[in-house]
Symmetry: C2
Subunit: 429 residues, 2 copies
């Protein structure tokens, strides 16, 4: 029987919204937001979309009117009662009331600030300016909207069965990965693929496939909406934007050198246990670890997000040993450009020496490479803080291809953080 | 919105019926049924299920109670008004009123006769006895029920996503075939896969995929229900059961030798054009063509259903040339164990020399080999007339592995039809 009301209701949608919830975002954005809401509520920032894959000409692929409609829809979103209840009542990382009442009250009233959009030379310039705790919440929905509009643009001309087969192939491909991962004893992995997903529905499918296919290994998703919907753990801690903004605001070279540790000192006050995960690569992992205060070595673990992951993990192990910590009690989270081969390799190399975990991103939620030629291949889109209170931000990373900021500032940061020669690695996703 | 009525209605189904319509059958069964209804309405026959793949132990895989429920459901079916309208009003092979009013009236009142079911040594013995025009209509639903119950038995323990991925893989596999077939210029093919399909829904999906993927090449389906549902051509002419029963009823060796031609003489009276397709292999193609009356060489084409298909087609071409016919005006339909490689090869070899067409069966509608180990691999199940008015039937075929009947009768037939040494070919499906 056709449900006539549903059919008619569907006619009433003006668009098919890509982001339908403020918590269709990464868990660490909310954790960081709460931290920023407490520590730096009045800092003004500019976030900007950066398409590192110049060959993907988003300005030609995506209709500007459709993009504006989607972004406007996101601006109209507010936290629903059920979402608020879930954030307030849920246990995250074993902790009740992770989100404080004052933050929740603010979040319930929060709407995303305006965006600025221009099409220049076949690309979109999309920026967001305003208070840090508000602007930073644009990052994930902006990326998700652009990624999915690109998918829709490519899929627009395909027939019904061609589409079905496309998804059939993507499903078969993902399931082959699941079957290979089943063979890895003691594996722990989470979905980190929100930002560069093919689409919301596809990420949701991928998560469910992992739930069924890897019931032991799959520990949760970074996506709050999907965690809520599928009743699984929300996963994530903190990201580069914290040290980048703290660093930009530093008033002297000495303050700059301390900025990354100031971030973690603030975090240390707020969080314990598995939320104490060091992200060391913003200005070079080597110098970061060398100059780190002792209390940091007591933290639970480290996240390796750029550079050669095996080198990064070996450095962390050496550092823990030097500081008298037992690496076997420490957690190493790999989260950079992973796919099954790399997961197998890293798991083999580090299991038994540290606790190993994987944050699997784009190649979980957007491995459509080759399924429509290269027209659906994932590409490297980011949305980053580019300035704070009028000062430019800088990221060095352990991969010079991921560095960003004005050249003279990059030079100054390199000097202050003692970053020497780095090995460039291709940024795939 | 959940349609509550639909949900509740679904609770009312006692079983999920496999065959839901009397025209969920091959078109040629209805054409032959009408012919038999006119020429031999009172002949009694026994049809019997024969599982040529002994390793597939249907008696252990399939619950007898479920099998009885499904067969009982088929016995309860009658022609719906819409189906009757479609059969009466449609144009088949360019002809209006293909089905005569007296046949339609009989068919509307027809119910399938009782079945006899026993489980012996891990296999089912399933037989149907009664008037030929009724019993012969059991063939396709009986096969479809057993094939699909076997599929269901294998799929029963699989998880939701495992199932989805299984079908995703099957879809991707079929679409790869479609994409390869797209490259064959002038290709014509039809779905002949009802009898050994994985399931009704899968056959329906495969047909729709061919409709979209091969809009020029795909000319129709043998399945009347799907032809009606998808608004495409119903395809088919006649099969071995006609010569087998005519031969069994022959009262002398001379009459036996003429039986296959008598079948086609009756057919000649009823049909013209593209329905005049010779099926020459029941008692050996070579002898059949050698001894054929001249009027047969004026028929539109030939169907090659056993033996080496290239040899069969070459023999037909030589025969037409000998009889002064132009092979380029003749149609050769290949219908035995086809898949893409074979289709490509035969198309290449015969295009330009004859009109070529393909009836693609089991490897279109049931290529699940390897998708659940070999547990879903297609297997060779047939349902054949084994006796007529108490006399055993015999089939020789161009492949001795497809021969059937009592040994002494096979020897007599071989003598009378002058069948010498034959090359055995593996019967895959």
């Amino acid at each position: 029987m056709v449900d006539i009301a549903t059919r008619v209701h569907n006619h009433n949608w003006k668009i098919d919204p890509i982001v339908r919830s403020l918590i269709d975002t990464d868990f660490y954005k909310l954790l960081m937001c709460q931290s920023i809401f407490r520590n730096s509520p009045d800092t003004t920032v500019v976030f900007s979309l950066i398409n590192r894959s110049k060959s993907v000409r988003l300005g030609e692929l995506i209709d500007e009117g459709e993009l504006r409609e989607q972004l406007d829809h996101v601006r109209g979103l507010s936290l629903s009662r059920g979402e608020s209840t879930w954030l307030r009542g849920n246990t995250f990382y074993g902790k009740r009331q992770m989100f404080r009442p004052d933050f929740m009250e603010w979040f319930e009233g929060m709407r995303l600030p305006p965006y600025h959009l221009e099409k220049i030379d076949g690309q979109y310039e999309l920026t967001f300016e305003g208070k840090w705790p508000e602007v930073m919440l644009w990052e994930i929905p902006a990326l998700a909207v652009l990624m999915e509009l690109r998918s829709r643009a490519v899929l627009k001309d395909m027939g019904k069965f061609e589409l079905q087969v496309l998804y059939a192939r993507a499903m078969a491909r993902l399931w082959e990965k699941v079957e290979r991962l089943r063979g890895i004893e003691g594996l722990k992995l989470a979905d980190f693929g929100t930002r560069r997903r093919h689409s919301f529905l596809w990420q949701d499918w991928a998560v469910q496939a992992l739930q069924e296919g890897l019931p032991e290994a799959f520990i949760g998703t970074s996506n709050c909406k999907i965690a809520m919907k599928r009743d699984i753990e929300a996963i994530g801690t903190n990201a580069h934007e914290l040290p980048m903004v703290y660093a930009a605001l530093a008033d002297s070279d000495a303050a700059l050198a301390q900025a990354p540790y100031k971030v973690l000192a603030d975090w240390h006050e707020e969080h314990d246990g598995n939320l104490r995960i060091i992200l060391p690569d913003t200005y070079g992992t080597e110098g970061f670890l060398r100059n780190a205060p002792d209390w940091l070595s007591t933290w639970t673990g480290i996240r390796i997000d750029s550079g050669d992951p095996a080198v990064g993990a070996e450095n962390a192990i050496r550092w823990w040993n030097e500081r008298g910590e037992d690496p076997r009690q420490k957690l190493v989270i790999f989260s950079d450009g992973l796919d099954v081969d790399k997961i197998e390799e890293l798991h083999r190399q580090f299991t038994g020496r540290v606790k190993v975990s994987f944050g699997w991103g784009t190649l979980l939620t957007n491995d459509f490479n080759g399924l429509a030629g290269d027209r659906l291949a994932p590409f490297s889109l980011v949305c980053k803080a580019v300035s704070a209170d009028g000062r430019p931000t800088v990221k060095l990373s352990d991969n010079p291809n991921k560095a960003m900021g004005p050249a003279d500032e990059i030079a100054r940061y390199k000097r202050i953080f003692g970053v020497g020669d780095q090995v460039a690695r291709e940024v795939v996703v």
